[in-house]
């Protein structure tokens, strides 16, 4: 913990209700509803073009919704211009003004608010110390490294003590090693300030590692909201299952009934379904690579069901071996822990893929 007096930030909730936004005929955000809790580190996660940045910019006031409202701490801010919203945004490009020193950049928002000179100095000092750049105040942005620029952008934003902190892909312009370090710093800073923070990213690892909860978005629709673990273990649909981690998807149909009930995978192989497992009609079988095991052809582990397959290829990943297994017309991935001297399955060998029907997921879409 830092010894300096913290900035006077307090945590408020952000409520997004019934937001629709179109550019011409392009419907970018479709009935978005989100309740972000006070002090939460929240992520908008999705592929490019999913509307996550549009939604963030809408909260900051740079986009106007066709319908719906955004409330911060209970107050509707939908009609306020950007400069009256009091939400701090860190831009993807950092947007540091090259004609001002680092100190002037950080002081800008306070000057615009008419804060007294002594108070500006104090808060600029705190903000710069907070990101560990107290000694670089007189530099120009162009004299800083990418990581330092990013920290100035954060300091500039938190210096005004905003109600909410918005981060637009703040790590995308950093190299891989720095990214891991900076994301920890961001998390640490957010915890210290207790500031409600919204983080936009397309990188599931970034969202998983630092966010309390994630809203997964695709094609302008919020697919699912939950903690990283919930999303990984109980994805609401195929998109979420695929976007967070690797997911194997087997198409097929339910055949038979009672004890004879089974899932017939496209291509013929049948997987018995225990009576207590509910399978919606039209559902696909979804499982993670590490949730299946491989055995010699015909073998099945206790309490598991087995499918016949054939090794198509294998990739050595260090701690594990990833096998590509052909099941009928589909190929799935299976990760087995790698042990020195352990037996390996050879390419083209017939194998039996076993999985527990209770850890597998049945998803309709």
């Amino acid at each position: 913990m830092n010894a300096i007096a913290p900035l006077a930030t307090k945590a408020v909730a952000v409520d997004i209700e019934g937001i629709n936004l179109s550019y011409g005929t392009n419907h970018v955000l479709k009935n978005v509803n989100l309740a972000i809790r006070p002090g939460e580190f929240f992520a908008f996660l999705g592929p490019s073009g999913c509307g996550k940045t549009t939604l963030l910019r809408l909260i900051a006031g740079f986009n106007q919704a066709d319908t719906g409202q955004v409330r911060i701490g209970g107050q509707d801010i939908s009609t306020l211009p950007p400069w009256k919203r009091d939400v701090g945004m860190v831009f993807q490009s950092y947007a540091l003004w090259p004609h001002m020193t680092v100190r002037k950049n950080v002081a800008f928002g306070l000057e615009e608010r008419g804060v007294a000179r002594a108070e500006i100095e104090r808060r600029v000092g705190i903000a710069l110390d907070l990101v560990g750049l107290g000694h670089l105040g007189d530099r120009r942005p162009s004299q800083l490294s990418g990581g330092q620029q990013q920290r100035v952008a954060v300091a500039r934003t938190v210096a005004v003590e905003p109600k909410v902190l918005l981060l637009d892909e703040p790590l995308s312009n950093l190299d891989a090693k720095l990214r891991v370090q900076v994301r920890r710093e961001l998390r640490d800073l957010q915890q210290r300030l207790g500031l409600t923070t919204i983080f936009v990213t397309h990188d599931q690892e970034e969202a998983n590692t630092i966010c309390d909860r994630i809203a997964v978005m695709n094609e302008g629709i919020v697919q699912q909201v939950g903690t990283p673990m919930e999303l990984y273990e109980r994805p609401a649909n195929l998109f979420v299952a695929n976007f967070l981690g690797t997911a194997n998807i087997l198409e097929g149909k339910v055949v038979g009934s009672g004890t004879e009930r089974a899932f017939e995978v496209k291509g013929g192989a049948k997987l018995p379904i225990p009576g207590d497992v509910a399978v919606p009609t039209g559902a696909k079988l979804v499982f993670r690579p590490q949730h299946a095991t491989l055995g010699a052809a015909g073998a099945a582990h206790a309490g598991q069901v087995a499918l016949p397959g054939r090794i198509a290829h294998r990739e050595f990943l260090g701690s594990s071996m990833r096998y590509g297994v052909a099941i009928g017309e589909t190929e799935v991935s299976v990760d087995l822990p790698f042990q020195s001297g352990g037996d390996l399955h050879e390419v083209a060998a017939p194998v039996s893929l076993s999985l527990s029907p209770r850890t597998a997921l049945w998803l309709e879409r």
Binding site: W83, E112, Q149, R156
Partner: protein, 570 residues
């Protein structure tokens, strides 16, 4: 120029013999037609008349003469005020068309160019008719309200004409700068609580400052150097006219003309240096990642009325010279009345009859000058960007330095330097028409060079390496790959040189020796000096404007077509 290969390691010569020969040829050209004349002017200014010994007495005389001091301050005042007024015209146009959803933004930007393709002194005559003591506006004011405004009186007239003529330099540079600002720069400020005029003052304008200063310093220098406009408005106590009058009335041996020339050079250099100094240590490019320019806002109805009102008012003002010129060219008599008495085409008949020599000369001179410029421009750009020739930057710097040399100074330099050099039949080199072409070429070289430089910079080196890898020599690679790919940029450079050379007068006024060698701008100047010559002069001016506009338009078409054919178009 030091194009000496490293002798100790002959295998690692910095360039091929051909490149060295080319560099030496260019160096010789620049030395002979730019450095030598300017050096001569400076030398004469610092030597005693007759004895050739170093002296400061000429400068002492200059600073002791009340007329020169007054002329100097008048020139500074007129140039500074022209910058102020040009900014007043350019700022709203640039801001409104780049920041707002503005119907007709393209038209505004295009019309904004128009004043540049007409010599400013031609505009001066037309503006006398509208804004002069007995011009349309004042006659109407007098009729309705009983007073007149001295728009065109003395220095005010020069300021008015110059700011209307040169404001496009600020408009073009400022608009480009505004368009290049990353949108996030503005949004970050809004996010931190800034808006409206404060946002413009603290973020937008400072970020556009390099563009504004580039334009403003150009306006200052151009106005400071301009000769014909003050002379035509009968303002003689300014520096450039003084230099001209000294040399033409007292003679080429009088040192005072040279002293004034040196002061003109120093003023140009200082103005450019100051604008560079103002930007020193401010790196504007590195953190801007090209975010597609500022957000365009929709104007509220009140804003729209105000905005369009301002734009229409400014456009009416800056296009007044063109309109006036057009009316004048068709007018029988236009004096002491808001509009001409009757219309005629007789002036055009006269222009095409007896004055077609001016048009022919202009086409020849401007084409030759443009041709020389692009050959030099391509060669210098190639040497600078594609070879490791020692001292290649010096070619670039020397050629670009021509920007800081006022036309009247170059004219005086040519007269002095080349009068001593005579051809076999005894005519001095300075009195040949080719001297005019060379002066124009040197004056416009910086523009063509920048265009060629930019064009070559965009071509990937690997395209040339591929040609060499397939067996093409350096010179064949240049001919078959580099020049075809640069075609668009080369043509753009040619057009800039051609169209500005066609209306240039500062240097040529000195160098024209006989009417049969005179270009259009000179003819215009002669016509415009007498009341009777104004009609034909205006007709000639309209011809000049149409000529330059047509050539510019044509080359745009060609550039676009060739870009499209190469799949490089947008």
């Amino acid at each position: 120029m030091t194009a000496v290969p490293a002798l100790s390691r002959p295998k690692r010569m910095s360039a091929t013999p051909g490149q060295i020969a080319l560099a030496l040829a260019i160096a010789a050209f620049l030395l002979f037609f730019l450095v030598l004349p300017v050096a001569t002017v400076i030398y004469v200014a610092f030597t005693e008349k007759g004895t050739n010994s170093f002296t400061l007495i000429n400068f002492y005389d200059f600073f002791r003469t009340e007329l020169f001091i007054r002329s100097f301050w008048n020139s500074v005042y007129v140039s500074a005020m022209s910058v102020v007024w040009a900014s007043v015209f350019a700022l709203p146009l640039a801001y409104l068309t780049t920041r707002f959803v503005f119907r007709g933004a393209a038209i505004v930007q295009t019309l904004g160019f128009l004043p540049l393709i007409m010599p400013p002194f031609v505009g001066a005559v037309a503006m006398q008719l509208f804004f002069g003591r007995n011009g349309s506006i004042n006659l109407l004011l007098d009729d309705w309200f009983g007073f007149k405004i001295g728009f065109m009186e003395g220095l005010n007239g020069v300021i008015f004409v110059q700011s209307v003529h040169y404001f496009p330099f600020i408009l073009i540079n400022l608009s480009a700068a505004l368009r290049n600002i990353d949108r996030a720069m503005e949004e970050a400020a809004q996010n931190l609580g800034s808006s409206g005029f404060r946002l413009f003052r603290r973020i937008v304008f400072p970020l556009a400052m390099p563009g504004y200063l580039a334009g403003a310093s150009l306006v200052f220098v151009k106005v400071f150097d301009d000769l014909a406009t003050p002379l035509l408005l009968n303002v003689k106590d300014m520096l450039a006219p003084q230099a001209y009058l000294r040399v033409t009335s007292i003679g080429i041996a009088d040192p005072m003309g040279y002293v004034i020339a040196v002061v003109l050079i120093v003023a140009s250099v200082v103005a450019m240096w100051l604008s560079a100094l103002a930007l020193k240590g401010r790196d504007y490019a590195t953190t801007q990642r090209g975010g597609g320019g500022l957000a365009k806002r929709v104007m509220s109805p009140t804003e729209a009325i105000f905005g369009y009102g301002v734009v229409i008012l400014i456009l009416a003002l800056v296009l007044a010279p063109h309109l006036g010129l057009l009316l004048l060219s068709f007018a029988t008599i236009w004096s002491y009345s808001p509009l001409p008495d009757a219309f005629t085409v007789a002036h055009y008949a006269r222009v095409f009859g007896e004055s077609s020599i001016y048009i022919k000369n202009t086409l020849i001179y401007a084409s030759l000058a443009g041709g020389i410029d692009i050959v030099l421009g391509v060669a210098i750009a190639y040497l600078v960007l594609r070879t490791k020739l020692v001292g290649r930057e010096w070619l670039d710097w020397t050629a670009s330095a021509a920007l800081a040399i006022p036309g009247v100074v170059l004219g005086i330099g040519y007269l002095r330097t080349f009068y001593g050099i005579t051809l076999p039949d005894g005519t001095p080199l300075a009195s040949l028409w080719i001297t005019i072409v060379l002066a124009l070429a040197i004056r416009r070289l910086p523009y063509a060079l920048r265009a060629c430089h930019a064009a070559l910079q965009q071509i990937s080196v690997s395209l040339e390496e591929a040609a060499e890898n397939l067996g093409a020599t350096k010179s064949r690679t240049v001919r078959r790959v580099v020049v075809p790919l640069m075609a668009g940029g080369i043509l753009a450079g040619f057009v800039t040189s051609f169209s500005t050379a066609a209306v240039e007068l500062s240097a040529t006024l000195m160098l024209v020796q006989s009417n049969s060698d005179a270009p259009l701008a000179y003819g215009l100047y002669v016509f415009m000096q007498s009341a009777a010559g104004r009609g034909p002069g205006a007709a000639l001016g309209v011809v000049a404007v149409i000529l330059v506009a047509a050539c510019t338009f044509l080359s745009h078409l060609i550039i676009e077509r060739s870009q499209k054919a190469k799949g490089m178009g947008h």
